[in-house]
């Protein structure tokens, strides 16, 4: 039985092609995935991402607990609203999931994990909590989440939220969140409020984050308000976009997809995520011993970007990659890049200084260029691509 977000009927009414995504019935596209992709690169688009799992973590040891649970260090979050991206590792340093964690107030955090991994994540988080005086883990329900992304996202969202919120929205840096309260019970009229006193059932939680490589925001709001808020966004000129475009946008931006580009058998070092690991701090964290060992012994594999410059097909997950004299690797996710008008992929290959390798497509070998992701940044392709 697939689950539905509060925007399910809206998607149907907008003639979406629906697909099962991690147990959720979600829109793949509303006609053309390529058009939706370009809308986000050139203007602004919205995505229903209400399937994501939101867990609030609180208790007097909540900070200590998260410092142990996560490979990135929540001690970096020095004021309410700040967020960071992190992997949650098992003892072997393998990635159980990737997530974003927000500090809302001292010892009170909001953690957003993937939809498909919800059950195993919660089981793991609860298990690890036992050593920390059982911080309270509260999976949230009754909330919706809408991503608004693209170079015009700020301007268009500002129009929807109204002038009282402009300064707050402007001041929001990447990986920061704010809270807006609904004014005097009038839906559609907001004013900034303090995160500490924020009651998440009545207002908007807005973070300057996303999964497209563009400027934008992810907005958490009460599920009952999602349909009318979505319509206001459309009226403000946002294009509605499905998970298909979300996937090509994130791949161009070089952002990993959990379950494809990384899983419990790969470490952050093998997943182009070394920057998210704080190893030499004043703490132990789950998986740190394994990461230290891997660092000392040398990391054998790297997650790299591949570009197919000639015609020959589309790079896809599980295609074999040959690196001259260094061995074999595999594409973890591949697609057609609408911005580059070429096929691109992420692949896990033996660590190498070489700048090209070959990929097998339908029995034929094609040369591909090896690059460090991203392929596209803020709407601009990397200069030589």
């Amino acid at each position: 039985m697939t689950q539905r977000t509060s925007l399910y009927q809206t998607h149907i009414d907008l003639a979406a092609k629906m697909v099962d995504f991690g147990g959720w019935d979600m829109p793949l596209h509303y006609g053309s995935q390529l058009d939706e992709h370009r809308s986000v690169r050139e203007n602004a688009g919205i995505f229903d991402v209400s399937h994501m799992t939101i867990v609030d973590v609180s208790g007097d040891k909540a900070s200590d607990y998260l410092r142990y649970l996560l490979a990135n260090d929540v001690a970096k979050l020095d004021k309410p609203g700040k967020a960071l991206y992190s992997c949650m590792l098992n003892e072997q340093g393998g990635i159980i999931d990737d997530l974003i964690v927000y500090l809302l107030k001292p010892n009170f955090y909001r953690v957003i994990v993937n939809a498909a991994t919800r059950d195993k994540d919660l089981a793991w988080m609860n298990e690890q909590a036992k050593s920390f005086n059982l911080p309270h883990l509260a999976p949230q329900s009754g909330l919706a989440m809408i991503a608004v992304q693209g170079p015009e996202a700020f301007e268009k969202l500002n129009k929807v939220l109204g002038p009282a919120c402009t300064r707050t929205l402007e001041a929001l840096k990447p990986f920061e969140a704010c809270a807006l309260a609904t004014v005097a019970e009038i839906f559609g009229c907001y004013e900034p409020c303090n995160l500490v006193t924020f009651n998440n059932l009545t207002g908007l939680f807005i973070a300057r984050t996303g999964y497209t490589g563009e400027d934008g925001f992810e907005i958490i709001l009460p599920a009952k308000d999602a349909v009318s808020f979505w319509q206001q966004l459309i009226d403000a000129g946002f294009a509605y976009c499905g998970l298909g475009a979300r996937d090509t946008l994130r791949l161009e931006a070089g952002l990993n997809l959990y379950g494809s580009d990384m899983d419990e058998t790969t470490t952050p070092y093998e997943s182009n995520l070394a920057w998210t690991v704080v190893l030499n701090g004043d703490r132990d964290f789950m998986g740190c011993k394994a990461l230290e060992t891997q660092k000392q012994n040398g990391v054998p594999r790297a997650l790299v970007g591949l570009v197919l410059h000639e015609r020959g097909g589309i790079l896809r997950g599980h295609q074999k990659v040959q690196v001259k004299e260094q061995g074999e690797g595999e594409i973890t996710s591949g697609t057609f890049s609408p911005t580059l008008n070429k096929s691109i992929a992420l692949a896990r290959i033996p660590v190498t200084n070489q700048t090209d390798c070959t990929v097998e497509i339908r029995g034929k070998l094609y040369p591909v260029e090896i690059i460090k992701p991203p392929f596209v940044k803020r709407g601009q392709r990397k200069s030589h691509l």
Binding site: L28, T248, G313, I314
Partner: protein
């Protein structure tokens, strides 16, 4: 709604066939097929003069989502390919029965009998 022109013949694997005035047969994929695939971004066309065998793979159409084999509806020789698709594969989405055609065959022993007419094809996709 799927567009299924009545003057064409069809296969269960979602190709269409049109008999041309010059005796050749033009082949493409159906509106239903392009809908299922989504945005088409790459087409691998057969080489001219290649021998085509009815029911065998002859071309590949790739969308953002997936790669799909195209099976030749008839046996014969490839006499023309739609090279425009190399630069504009999305013509298959916008005009599956027109500008989005794939290739033309010269058929020695033409037997359209094994192919489906529009009504049967419509029933076929309705039940699949």
């Amino acid at each position: 709604m799927n567009n299924i022109p009545t003057e064409l013949k069809y296969t269960r694997t979602h190709e269409w066939v049109r008999q041309e005035a010059d005796g050749t047969y033009t082949i493409g994929i159906t509106d239903h097929a392009q809908h299922l695939l989504g945005d088409i971004v790459y087409v691998e066309l057969p080489e001219i003069h290649r021998a085509a065998k009815a029911g065998a793979e002859i071309s590949v159409v790739e969308s953002v989502k997936a790669a799909a084999d195209v099976y030749s509806p008839l046996s014969g020789e490839v006499v023309a390919i739609n090279e425009k698709l190399n630069d504009e594969p999305q013509l298959i989405n916008s005009s599956p029965y027109g500008e989005g055609w794939l290739f033309k065959l010269k058929v020695s022993d033409s037997s359209l009998n094994d192919l489906l007419d529009a009504k049967i094809y419509e029933e076929h996709i309705g039940s699949s």
